[in-house]
Symmetry: C2
Subunit: 258 residues, 2 copies
């Protein structure tokens, strides 16, 4: 199978660099083809702006989504965006690997999402009407592909536990796992989280890689997170609220997992 790793860390000689090297090697040893988008090494342009559209009339106000639609439909996207889209078309699985910074992905990776997820590719796919609110949340261009987050954080596991001060790790990652990955159709595997990075030593790194290796070996076997699909009857359309009889009385992110 084909695996795309989108990776964001400014220093190759780092824990994240070691984990990235291990991941590539393990996947190749398992017989997979691997491409890495090393965003810092690529000097990836983070901000989405009018320069993302070729042959643009500068007199017209730039509209992030409508300009993206126009550029995607007419082959006028910036070349760096097209290359990443081709990698996603090629991939059977996507791994997002990053250090958690301020409870989300690094800016450079957020910019990858914003620019590569064009209108017509990452969103704005399928019929948009009052009875069908687009092919998203379980449908879309990434349907049939798998995705997984590999993330490191300085905080302890308890800080990200059910009642930990940072909030539960599943909730912290929900805007990415549900909003960035499930939205365009990926089946999202549980994340691989490395906590308390300041205490990492050789023995713990070995144990961490062993555990990650097992997850990589099962990339096509593990069950994805059971996020509810938008267009299979669980939500009222167009309000897009969860039907009363499902997860009765519950609110919050967890209600959107079956």
């Amino acid at each position: 199978m084909n695996v795309l790793i989108v990776y964001a860390h400014p220093e190759r000689r780092s824990l994240n660099g070691a984990i990235n090297d291990f991941t590539v090697e393990r996947l190749r040893n398992d017989g997979h083809a691997v491409q890495v988008s090393d965003l810092y090494a690529m000097n990836w342009k983070a901000p989405l702006d009018a320069n993302d559209v070729r042959e643009r009339n500068g007199d017209t106000p730039f509209h992030p989504s409508l300009d993206s639609k126009h550029a995607f439909e007419n082959g006028l996207q910036s070349r760096d965006i097209e290359i990443e889209q081709d990698k996603l078309r090629w991939a059977d699985a996507l791994i997002l690997q990053f250090p958690m910074w301020w409870f989300s992905m690094p800016a450079i990776m957020k910019g990858w999402v914003e620019r590569v997820y064009a209108y017509g590719f990452g969103y704005g796919v399928g019929e948009h009407s009052d009875t069908h609110w687009g092919d998203r949340y379980g449908e879309g261009m990434m349907a049939g592909k798998r995705a997984m987050i590999v993330v490191t954080t300085g905080g302890w596991e308890s800080h990200y536990g059910p009642r930990g001060i940072n909030g539960p790790i599943d909730d912290i990652l929900f805007p990415i796992q549900h909003g960035v990955l499930f939205y365009p159709g990926f089946d999202v595997l549980p994340p691989f989280v490395v906590y308390h990075t300041s205490t990492m030593d050789d023995a713990r790194l070995q144990a961490t890689c062993d555990a990650l290796g097992q997850r990589l070996d099962r990339l096509w076997d593990d069950a994805p997170i059971a996020f509810r699909k938008q267009n299979h009857g669980d939500y009222a359309i167009p309000l897009l609220t969860l039907r009363d009889e499902l997860a009765e009385g519950r609110t919050g992110f967890a209600a959107h997992v079956e």
Copy 2:
């Protein structure tokens, strides 16, 4: 009072541009001093990297937090970072204004947070031991200042409601409101959210500005979100889990609001 608005939209001739203009004018009419960090206009460097430290020895691996600590303590930060830190010192209130992209702030603003929040300034403040886990979540360099998010989104209010498919807006914004704003000490006011932006017309824009204006007039009067402070007894230290008798049996972000 002094208000810093950090603003991220690539097009001034946009809904966000109009809201930004209105905000500046209203605050000035109310007698406040206002500075705007217009990140796109400033061509703000989004990615945090080794170039953020002056006079760095390139042979040493770059370590995001330790290099930041060294640079902050020794006056070796990149000048653009220092300027933004001075604006934060000057400000009595911070407004983050942005369009919601992929359930978070635009990459360029995320990069503002990552680079301006240096170790010793945005985090790593105060004693760090097994009995005191830093001055954070209600304490820190921003203590006594107020903060508020002003955000636009294409989705409907119901899509972000308690059982809406995107997740509740308060949960979507929690990593920013709690993790980026409350963490270094800001008192965080409820967000001002503009939904369903595609239907914006002159009448609705007027009503939106009227409502926002009232919020701006009360910037120093409204009650902040009652996030629980880390160091006032609600959490076990160093595990940083909410004490059993508080919000009994509840998990998730909402448990961290009194």
